[in-house]
Amino acid sequence: MMEYSLFLGCTVPVRARNYEISTRRVAEALGIKLVDLDGFVCCGFPIKSVHYDSFLLTAATNLIVAEEKDMDICALCSACTSVLTEVNSLLGRDYELRARVLKDLGIRRKYRFGNSVRIKHFARILYEDVGIDQIRRRIKNDLSQLRITAHYGCHYLKPSGIYDNFDDPEHPRSLDELIEATGATPVDYENKNLCCGASILALDERISLDMANKKLMSANEAEIDAMTLVCPFCSVMYDDNQRSIESRFGKSYDLPILYYPQLLGLGLGIDEKDLGLNMNRVRVNPLLEKLGGRLSHSTRS
């Protein structure tokens, strides 16, 4: 059985419980053991641009928690994956920096970082460790009527150098293949690689929402049933803020936004309620109706 420590980060446990619950249920169904460890803190992404030393130590704290238990990390947020992978690699190869970080953390024991612990995004675990064929074999429900676009976001694939080029950042395919594995049809669209703008939402809402609107516009033109994504930040933009965007730009999208585990869960036959679909801001009923079901939607808790 595959086993990973589950790194939730700051956003998932509070703003993306639908992502968390669907991930756990899918992992269970596919034989992936996700272990909750005490001691994880913020990954450090919010402070990387203002205090690099603090960022290093914060990220390193998480890597130490995982290495203590001799466990690789499965992360759900792309930004968390990116910074933990970056710091893991850096501390793994820079002996002096590693020594300084451990000293600043008040730790005497030597940790190996990049030479022992691996960090992987849950979607990448599905893609590489579980594999497309295995997923395809486990699908129980027919999703062939669904047209789904993939939003890769930025930190899932970039900077490509830290991810050993498991997918092409300019012409990515991994999420499209994962969509296809569920039986749904992956659909290409303009602005597929566009950033969601979440990183600057608090700094310049106007620019951020404009970026998100561009993506929604392009995805909508592709006549799809839903967009699927793998990062809670991206979901904040496209799901949580979809109504604000519609109002600001005079648009009407009504586009369901699914985390990939939610889509996969539907295919695996996991109950809709166990996938947290009632917590998605934009109603997913049109999509479920296409599949012959309907969720009694309650306001997001």
Binding site: P13, P46, S49, H51, D104, K158, P159, M211
Partner: protein, 446 residues
Amino acid sequence: MSDVLIVDDEKVVCRSCERILGPDGHDVDSALSGQEALDKIEKKKYNVVITDLKMPGITGMELLEAVKERYQEVDVIMITGYASIDTAVQAMRLGAFDYIPKPFTPDELKAVVVRALERRRLLDEAREKTMRTRVMFEYTMPDELYYLPEHAWAKVEKDGTVRAGMDDVFQKSVGDIVQIRLPSTGDQVEQGGLFVEIQDSSRRTHKLWSPVSGKVIQTNDDLLEDTTLVNREPYGAGWMIRVAPSNLENDLKNLMYGEALIKWWLNREIIEKKEDRYLQVSALDPKFKYEIAEEPGGEGIKYCFACGVCSASCPVREIDEAYNPRKIIRMALLGMRQEVLQSDFIWLCSTCYTCAERCPQGVGFTDVINAIKNIAAREGHIHPALKMQAELLEKQGTLYEIEDFDNRKREKMGLPKIHTDKTRISDIFKTTGFKQLLEKKDNDGV
């Protein structure tokens, strides 16, 4: 055509000017005092103000200063008596467009007004063109020359004589020149007095005032054959006269030179709100790029050759040109340290890494901009939103606090409870000194 205000304490002068300019389509008003002129200027937008130098109450010079301070786009022409040529020259240093000595002919008055309007039109056109195409309309001012600004230049030769000619601003506002009347060898010229008359293609005559006093020892006869030399090379082959100066030391004090000239020009440009076109070299910090290169992730700045792929790829720049990666890196390389560190735009990077992936030089701009932001933060310029996030982390160990209420919800969903160690990150911030930095007021006192 334009709105003109005549200011003179003699009614007859005002009426004469109205009769000269009115038939050409100018809308002419008059004022009998400096104060009346200021009152009128406050109510109506004039293109040109023509004022006598000597008036009771507010003098012509005082009126000039008041207009230039508050109404930068109004051109002021001084009417002077012979005895006040010196003052008139000084008035040009203060921003007067030109002066007309009394007595003047109708054509002389018309010519100078038309030249003022033409210059203004060229500047407005250039400004619009700059905004549309970012092509700069250049005025050249070789730095070894002395200037009666936007009028004439003088160059002190090694043998002590002075070569003089037309400034290219004057030349551009006159346009094509069909005839040039130079003084003759042996003639005396005086600073501020007439030394050359120019006829433009509309047959208007323009007068050029001499920048220096002395005896004309040579004239540029090539100009008589080919007037276009002045258009093409106003500071070179288009020179006009050579003079044995009679009062050089004093004359040069009335002219502008070197840094004083640049400051005069900049002051005017700043007044006309074009300061973003200029860079003061002495204010640049050549070590800034090395400072960035020393920061983690900043070393790539050394490899940039400004190809612009980063800017072309940037999704933020596509929405708002304020965030332009290539421009930021150029500013950093030039040494515009304070402008970069104190800017709002450095915080607009969405960290999408598209620029970094596509950069042919491997600059890694996303990490370079992070390096710049780290330096800015150390100097107290942290974006308030990021400061708030850091403070939340310091206080509660996570961006979103997980309280009992949240854990009960999680339990209901079958999710495990989460307990955050609230002190861990705070301890880290204390160790690294980030806590002290957050507690300091930023440079705006926040």
